[in-house]
Symmetry: C2
Subunit: 214 residues, 2 copies
């Protein structure tokens, strides 16, 4: 396995399904964000104030839900609970989507808080598997400031250490810290253009932000 591809929940359903179709045949494992399901837990949490652990665990179940729904729509995509089965699926020329709930129930390596989202979980899995990590989101990468604001510029390359000083980006707050801890690099790319993600995986030039954690 060469890459963990983390698919942002905001790309679900159309863009997520389209990108996964393109990823079949690549040496990658996909992990999906919890999308609107996890957002709903966050909303309820603001009013009802659940424990960090329950919010964390239920948000991870939302990643399972989106993974199952994406896998359902494509013949050669299989949802899996284990890394061992993921490898078997790849060997058959199919694309595995990891449903992370069971794995994380046993390993539980990350802080239970809203700062730790599916981005951090994917970095952790990528560290476990010794793969590269590609975060696919709904913007072109990391910007100098909010991409919706005038004059915001896409950053081609940034160190995780520098990213720690940014207040809000398209990746989760905990991510730069985790990249430094595990000494990992990471690419952030826009999932609305599947060809960009494929180019990165195939080692060609593309539009993205590279975050250096080494």
């Amino acid at each position: 396995m060469e890459w963990v591809v983390k698919l942002g929940g905001s790309l679900f359903p159309e863009d997520a399904i389209n990108l996964c179709k393109e990823l079949v045949g690549q040496n990658v494992i996909v992990i999906c964000g919890g999308g609107e399901f996890a957002n709903k837990i966050r909303e309820y949490d603001q009013d009802t104030n659940f424990s960090d652990t329950t919010a964390h665990k239920t948000a991870i179940l939302c990643m399972d839900i989106i993974g199952m729904l994406v896998a359902d729509k494509i013949d050669d995509v299989v949802s899996v609970y284990s890394l061992e089965y993921a490898k078997k699926v790849l060997d058959e020329g199919k694309l595995p989507i990891l449903l992370p709930s069971k794995l994380l129930e046993y390993l539980d390596p990350l802080e239970h808080s809203w700062k730790v989202t599916s981005d951090s979980i994917s970095v952790y899995i990528s560290w476990l598997l010794k793969t590269k990590i590609l975060i696919v989101t709904n913007v072109d990468g990391i910007y100098t400031f909010e991409p919706s604001l005038d004059g915001a510029k896409l950053i081609k390359s940034i160190s995780a250490k520098k990213l720690l000083t940014f207040s809000e980006t398209s990746v989760d707050e905990n991510l730069p810290e985790l990249l430094l801890k595990y000494k990992l690099d990471c690419y952030v790319v826009n999932g609305k253009y599947p060809e960009r993600a494929i180019s990165i995986i195939e080692g060609k030039s593309s539009k993205y932000t590279f975050i250096g954690g080494n």
Copy 2:
């Protein structure tokens, strides 16, 4: 165990949490509906058209999510995956909330369709456990027609056979058929008034609809 109490997802969070507080100490097991999480799957399904099995399984994960969130808010409520552990929790004077995903993955007794919701799942669990079944929803029971329409009257008692002829009610479409199959009776009550549910459980008079499946 004397009762399965099915808590409608529409009661989540406040009314569901309040009722569960009152149910601690009763000889019951709670099962939660999937609420807004399951509704979201249904919405996506209308556009994206997932397979019946994936829609069914992901909707059941939504029941787990709501069960975990409700249990999180009350000290003496414990979420459980197995009926055996549920009995242990009851023996300790606490209230078990069943997270049905794992049990249903192994048993898989019901049709995979949107006609089969958490109501039917709860009836099946009640049949497994040989308990009575109480469906707690956000209206007073079953009405002669849509409760929002003028002149709709609450039905005190109806046979499941008669209910088969109704087009839309506050319980799922598959429920009357299942009550007939398993020869079970069922009470439908409004969860916004916890005292009504408690009265039924304690064998006292209350406002509800009784559905006879025997």
